[in-house]
């Protein structure tokens, strides 16, 4: 069975996270679960990858985070998309369209052969 290339998908984790944050504030596990559901289980984003993406997006100002205290000593970090994040999301979507267009031409060539 063909598996998704981690090298390819790595550059587009940001799109997935930001798309989910467009619907409102969310947290790590919820985002991970939604990505799994939206891709019918074909892609499961690992916690380390997710945290790395959050740290990068926050550093760049594309998301902001708030720590909320839950019952007991439990804490949860919620992420929100910023205005800059929306611009970045649009730019990444355009980049993906271009990538798909370019790679698509070569995939068709291979399919005919």
């Amino acid at each position: 069975m063909v598996e998704i290339s981690s090298d390819i998908i790595r550059g587009y984790n940001d799109i997935m996270i930001l798309k989910i944050l467009m619907d409102g504030s969310s947290y790590g596990y919820e985002i991970q679960k939604k990505i799994k559901e939206l891709t019918d289980g074909k892609y499961v984003i690992k916690e380390t990858t997710l945290y790395s993406a959050f740290a990068r997006l926050e550093k760049a100002g594309y998301v902001s985070s708030t720590v909320k205290n839950l019952e007991g000593e439990k804490k949860r970090t919620y992420y929100d998309m910023t205005a800059l994040g929306k611009e970045y999301y649009t730019m990444k979507c355009e980049e993906w369209e271009l990538t798909r267009e370019v790679i698509g031409k070569f995939v068709k060539e291979i399919s005919r052969a």
């Binding site: 947290y27 596990y29 919820e30 991970q32 916690e47 380390t48 990858t49 945290y51 804490k75």
Partner: protein, 154 residues
């Protein structure tokens, strides 16, 4: 639940107590407990829930550079003592360490050669006694013999 802590302890044993490393551990812990609790609430057993959490955690090694988290620079490091100095982020430091290490290797190598030559009497006309108390005599004799050898062949 303690298995999550044990897992994180195992991962972070190679990472010193810095702000970045603490933040990484805290956030990973949050997500792991959230997932574990959700899976248990869905009806999974504790063992099944932990197995899924463990399998989907991922590899910290592959994202550590991006996160700026650092490992110990000593033998605690998973890649050995030199890993922190060969980091692409510290090329100058790596260069200095390499120069120091190779200089020490060179000096020790020369001393060993002098000592061995002094001891075996290969170029000389007498044997020098074995032992630490006459080690300096051996070094010096060996050094003179190397010099003599070089001058003689010139």
């Amino acid at each position: 639940m303690n298995r999550i802590q044990q897992k994180l302890d195992g991962i972070f044993i190679n990472f010193p107590d810095t702000e970045e490393n603490r933040a990484a551990r805290e956030k990973l812990e949050e997500m792991m407990y959230d997932k574990y609790d959700a899976l248990v609430a869905e009806g999974k057993s504790s063992i099944e829930a932990y197995a899924i959490v463990n399998a989907e955690l991922g590899d910290l090694e592959s994202v550590k550079e991006e996160l700026g988290i650092t490992e110990y620079a000593g033998p605690m490091s998973s890649k050995g003592m030199t890993s922190a100095y060969t980091d692409e982020k510290h090329p100058e430091r790596a260069k200095v360490i390499r120069i120091i290490v190779w200089s020490l290797v060179g000096v020790c190598g020369c001393l060993a050669i002098f000592w061995a030559l002094g001891l075996c009497g290969f170029f000389g006309d007498h044997w020098v006694e074995w032992g630490l108390d006459v080690a300096w005599d051996n070094f010096w004799t060996g050094f003179k013999r190397v010099l003599h050898f070089l001058i003689f062949f010139k």
